[in-house]
């Protein structure tokens, strides 16, 4: 009875705090500008099923893809067991589904156990890739400090979680063998779960009933605690991708990657410039707000850019494919996403504390992302192509460039020359437009 109450309180607190953090993230994402990603629902659904659910883009690199798949599938399937755990916890029963589901229960838990072992192997492999093999993309400057710790904490948490599952099932199996499992009403027998049947016989067999009951409870409570700790750590971690990968791929850009967004605000101005009947002294229409061209801070970006930032799990595939980063430039597309997220969390906290007009004197551009990073981009779309959850760092880079060029006229001097040439001669070089057809008559 006390256990049920304690469990229910943990449950409510765990889901409640998580909900509060979810609300904050939703609030933060909604600080972004509007962009229409509503149309073409069937294509969107297909993209989500293939890319997020089906992990399609992960398989561009098969080894990590298989390791990741093991953890992913184990995680998804384990949710079924979690339903039983919560039902047991609240009701004070033991293995509620055991008798009701019969053979299917044995199959289901066995399946989860096999996946858990695979996930455990994958987790050790991932720890090795980060800490022993030290893959280059996990050692970049932006990964120093919390981002590396974050990744390792998640992996260690997964190991603990799996350990708890096997302690719980293994001890329960040993109890069942002695006719002392609460799930089987004092009959002797075996659950027949693939892994824990072996564990119960070989690891937990020599122990007395009291110890086994204690171990079983440690496993159960440990599991529950880990689940709620994990759930509530998620919003503070790169690991939030397990949730946002789905909406983020659903709202993917479905246009060709080469198509940059059209700036309507500029179109109106250019039309006025080209219209001989336009009144150059006309007052701005009533209620027209002065617009900022491009992005200086996170609130100038679109909500999709901001969702991208929260979805990023810092795998660094983008950075490892970026021609600028490969050749030692400062630009790292992953850092662009991490900076955007970190700044957004800061701005969101500020707004909630001090109101929406609060200015902390900082901005994404300058305080987080430097001009040198932006000007190293070749707009080649390799980062966009690589991202397993369809994040688009390039559109942030371009919007920041737009601000620099159109609001502050700040750009490398050669580009000023190039732009002047286009405006004066209709070509990026200094050639006379009249000579454009000269090649026709040259040998």
């Amino acid at each position: 009875m006390i256990a049920s109450i304690v469990f229910s309180v943990i449950c409510l607190a765990g889901f409640g705090f998580f909900g509060w953090n979810l609300w904050k993230i939703r609030y933060n994402i909604n600080l972004g500008k509007d962009i229409d990603r509503s149309g073409n629902k069937s294509e969107r659904l297909k993209t989500m099923l293939l890319v997020a659910f089906g992990q399609k883009k992960m398989f561009a690199r098969p080894i990590p893809a298989l390791l990741h798949l093991a953890i992913y599938v184990a995680f998804v399937i384990t949710q079924i067991e979690l339903i039983e755990i919560i039902a047991d916890g609240v009701s004070g029963q033991h293995r509620m589904f055991h008798e009701a589901l019969g053979g299917f229960y044995t199959f289901m838990i066995s399946f989860i156990e096999i996946l858990s072992v695979l996930a455990l192997i994958a987790t050790f492999a991932f720890l090795a890739r980060r800490n022993i093999i030290r893959l280059a993309r996990f050692q970049k400057p932006e990964m120093k400090g919390f981002p590396s710790l974050d990744a390792n904490l998640i992996l260690l948490g997964e190991i603990l979680l799996v350990m708890c599952i096997f302690t719980m099932n293994g001890a329960d199996e040993a109890l069942y063998l002695q006719g002392a499992s609460h799930a089987a009403h004092d009959v002797q027998g075996s659950f027949g779960f693939t892994i824990s049947a072996w564990l119960g016989e070989h690891v937990f067999s020599g122990m007395d009933v009291a110890t086994l009951h204690l171990l079983e409870r440690i496993g159960w409570w440990g599991h529950v605690t880990m689940v709620f700790a994990f759930l509530n750590y998620l919003p503070y971690s790169k690991h939030f991708h397990i949730l946002l990968a789905f909406p983020n791929t659903y709202y993917s850009n479905l246009e060709k990657k080469g198509k940059f967004t059209n700036m309507e605000s500029v179109t109106n101005e250019v039309k006025l410039m080209l219209d001989p009947n336009a009144d150059p002294y006309a007052a701005a229409p009533e209620g027209a707000e002065p617009q900022r061209f491009g992005a200086k801070d996170v609130t100038d970006l679109t909500w999709k850019n901001l969702m991208d930032a929260y979805t990023c799990t810092e795998c660094g595939r983008c950075t490892s494919a970026c021609p600028a980063n490969i050749t030692g430039k400062l630009l790292s597309p992953r850092k662009i996403m991490m900076d955007t997220r970190d700044r957004l969390m800061e701005v969101g906290d500020n707004f909630r504390k001090h109101g929406k007009d609060y200015d902390d004197g900082k901005a994404l551009l300058g305080s987080y992302i430097l001009e040198e990073e932006l000007w190293a981009c070749t707009s080649c779309n390799a980062c966009v192509q690589e991202c397993p959850v369809n994040i688009d760092p390039l559109s942030i880079i371009v919007d920041l460039r737009r601000y620099l060029v159109m609001e502050e006229s700040k750009m490398p001097t050669e580009l000023t020359g190039m732009l002047t040439n286009i405006e004066n001669n209709g070509a990026p070089w200094q050639f006379s437009p009249a000579d454009r057809g000269n090649w026709i008559h040259e040998d």
Partner: protein, 262 residues
């Protein structure tokens, strides 16, 4: 005086004729000495196949691509709207271009400003000419030669055109060898995003050198491209390794024109 037949839209209109397709030459193809050879190779193929085409000549202007990539939307849209006025004035419906940057901009970014055209890359047009039997190639010139294709970002990743240039290379009876980074994983030559017009930021290597290493690893004797900027970058990259006498950097259109002995 060359013997190429290159009518302008103005000449065609004066003669009361309408071309089937506009050849958008682009700034590089018009002014850059190396790229002009690519332009002429395209014209030779068009002439040989009796394609009724025209160019804009002095009426053509930069599409605005480098301005847009650099972040100057004003300059881009000014260019775009002026070009659209010219194109619509001539009632242009179809455009072919040998520059993937012009291709991308005309195809994807002009429609929202009112310019709607069917835009194809020259490799797609040539593939079509071969498919319809208007162009035949004897495999002699490049038979058995090792050729690698460098995917221009604005043709490949940006617009998903990977096959047309490769199909053409295979028509040469040549051995197409892929670089370790190719197609969707292709590495940029370093020129895109207005980088062509500026010095690279501080780093430890030039991007075109990194990319040329990929090409050298294939031991191909010809690096084929489909973009005048990639051509410049790869040519410089090959020179960086002092291999310019062993390895040629050629546009797919040049390979086809040479093989067809035009």
């Amino acid at each position: 005086m060359s013997n190429l037949k290159v009518p302008t839209m103005a000449e065609m209109m004066a003669a009361g004729e309408t071309p089937d397709i506009l050849f958008w030459v682009g700034c590089s193809g018009s002014f850059d000495d190396r790229a002009k050879k690519i332009t002429k190779a395209v014209v030779k193929i068009l002439n040989h196949c009796n394609v009724k085409f025209a160019v804009l000549g002095a009426e053509e202007s930069c599409t605005g691509d480098p301005a847009k990539r650099a972040g100057n939307e004003f300059t881009f849209q000014m260019q775009a709207m002026m070009n659209i006025q010219v194109l619509d004035g001539y009632e242009v419906k179809r455009i072919v271009t040998a520059c993937p940057h012009c291709f991308n901009t005309l195809k994807n970014e002009y429609p929202e400003l009112g310019g709607n055209y069917e835009v194809i890359h020259h490799t797609q047009l040539i593939q079509d000419l071969i498919n319809t039997g208007k162009l035949t190639i004897e495999g002699g010139t490049y038979k058995g030669k090792k050729i690698t294709f460098h995917d221009p970002c604005y043709l490949g990743r940006a617009n998903d055109v990977y096959e047309a240039p490769r199909v053409l290379i295979e028509k040469l009876d040549a051995e197409l060898v892929e670089m370790k980074r190719c197609k969707t994983n292709g590495l940029c030559c370093g020129a895109g995003g207005a980088q062509m017009f500026k010095e690279a930021e501080k780093g430890n290597k030039e991007i075109n050198v990194e990319r040329t290493e990929d090409a050298l690893e294939t031991s191909a004797t010809i690096i084929a491209t489909g973009c005048p900027f990639c051509n410049t970058m790869m040519t410089d990259g090959v020179k960086n390794f002092n291999k310019e006498h062993e390895i040629a950097v050629l546009d797919v259109a040049e390979l086809i024109a040479n093989a067809a002995e035009l």
